[in-house]
Amino acid sequence: MDSPSTSNPEAPLDRHELPRAYSVRTERERLMEAMVRVSAAKGYEATTVDDIVEYAGATRETFDELYGDKETCFLEAYEAVFDVLVAHVTAAFEAASASAWPEQTEAGLRALVELLAMEADIARMAMVEVTAAGDDARERYRAMFSRFTPFLEKGRTYSGQDAELPADTARFAIGGATSMIFDEVRAGRGPELKRILPDLVFAVLMPYLGPEAAEDEMRRVTREA
């Protein structure tokens, strides 16, 4: 998110003199951040608008003006969080572009679990609470994970049997991996998520490469850990 332009960056910041657009944007960010923290801690159902407003140090009026209701705020915060996840995974996948597809995929998965392990609230909010936040949120959840599909679908060409693989292969692979992450995070083992990296590698590669090649990759990841 871009920083505000001020005529003199050295001048002490006085909230009351900042342009209104600036304070609106930061309140929006503070409210989103509050949504991530509070819904991760209390659960989406139990989270109230008052909790969010209090945590953000904002006013109810601002909240109503920006979001109107809890769900809208949650959805926007969720998208912001997911943008970060996708950018992080994409960067890792791209950085490994000299390697073959299985190693590239493994690099992406590693980046994902490392970020989720480090950011417990983000993991909780983006992997678990989102499934409790209503139809729109669940729809968004699916749409967000399908952003990883292009990386996985490179596996079709890599496998050399593009035509034989079922149409839903990417969805199957993503479903397996997200479910494993969901179970770990829900059980409070989010911080140790790296432990299941070998399992995730197997779940994602197996539908494309078959069990033997996927297990070889899994063993390699285990050895390197």
Partner: protein
């Protein structure tokens, strides 16, 4: 899964017994039967309401409107919406498992049982998508106890899938995580179709589901052959 499914068939209480048998019952037992059928009606109404309208939007009132019963009938059996949904979820999972177990019973091999069981599950979703949504999709909105039931059901499914190990050679045995990944992947595809409002076309998924389940235990060639066979 066999023993569990048998229990579920009994728990499902799918109206058997002749009229004569019912007439011979004591008045208190008759009342019990009426009550249990009311209870079942409420549970079915709950699953359909939740499947059609979503868990959050469903209230005790909407369930009553569907069943044509009075408020008191609801509160005779359940403390609140949450308790009722939890019981309804258990019944729904039990029925799905019983449907699968019945279909699989006449098959000998793991693959035959899986094909028959999955086929029956998909047929049921084609026939009753609201019921499917009530059990498979909306469970996420219904709190930790409901999620625990979901996790147990997925575990039972994974345990059944993993019986493939007995048929697969030692050397081909996949890692321990394999069955969990199969169930989660298949579940994700069904879940995604149900939640985007699909009301048909579930049966057509059987060939690829068989592919995904056979692949880790028996390899790509066997999985491809199985997919072709299921398409026929």
């Amino acid at each position: 899964m066999g023993r569990q499914a048998a229990t579920n068939v009994r728990a499902g209480a799918e109206g058997t017994g002749s009229v004569r048998e019912v007439q011979a019952l004591s008045p208190s037992r008759k009342l019990e039967l009426v009550n249990s059928s009311k209870r079942e009606k409420i549970l079915e109404g709950m699953l359909e309401a939740v499947g059609a309208e979503g868990y959050d939007a469903t209230s005790v009132r909407t369930v009553l409107a569907r069943t044509g019963l009075y408020r008191q009938a609801f509160y005779d059996h359940f403390a609140d919406k949450e308790a009722c949904y939890l019981a309804a979820l258990e019944m729904g999972i039990g029925r799905l498992e019983a449907t699968m177990a019945r279909a699989a019973a006449s098959e000998e091999s793991w693959r035959g049982r899986l094909r028959a069981g999955l086929g029956a599950l998909l047929d049921r979703l084609d026939a009753e998508p609201d019921f499917g949504r009530g059990v498979i999709v909306e469970v996420h909105a219904a709190g930790p106890q409901a999620l625990a039931r979901r996790a147990e059901a997925l575990k039972r499914a994974a345990d059944f899938i993993d019986l493939a190990r007995l048929d697969a050679g030692e050397s081909e045995s996949p890692p321990q995580i394999a069955p969990e990944g199969i169930v989660a992947g298949i579940h994700a595809i069904v879940h995604s179709r149900l939640s985007t409002g699909a009301t048909e076309g579930f049966r057509a998924l059987l060939p690829e589901f068989m592919y995904f389940a056979v692949l880790p235990y028996f390899g790509a060639d066997a999985a491809g052959a199985e997919m072709q066979a299921a398409r026929a």
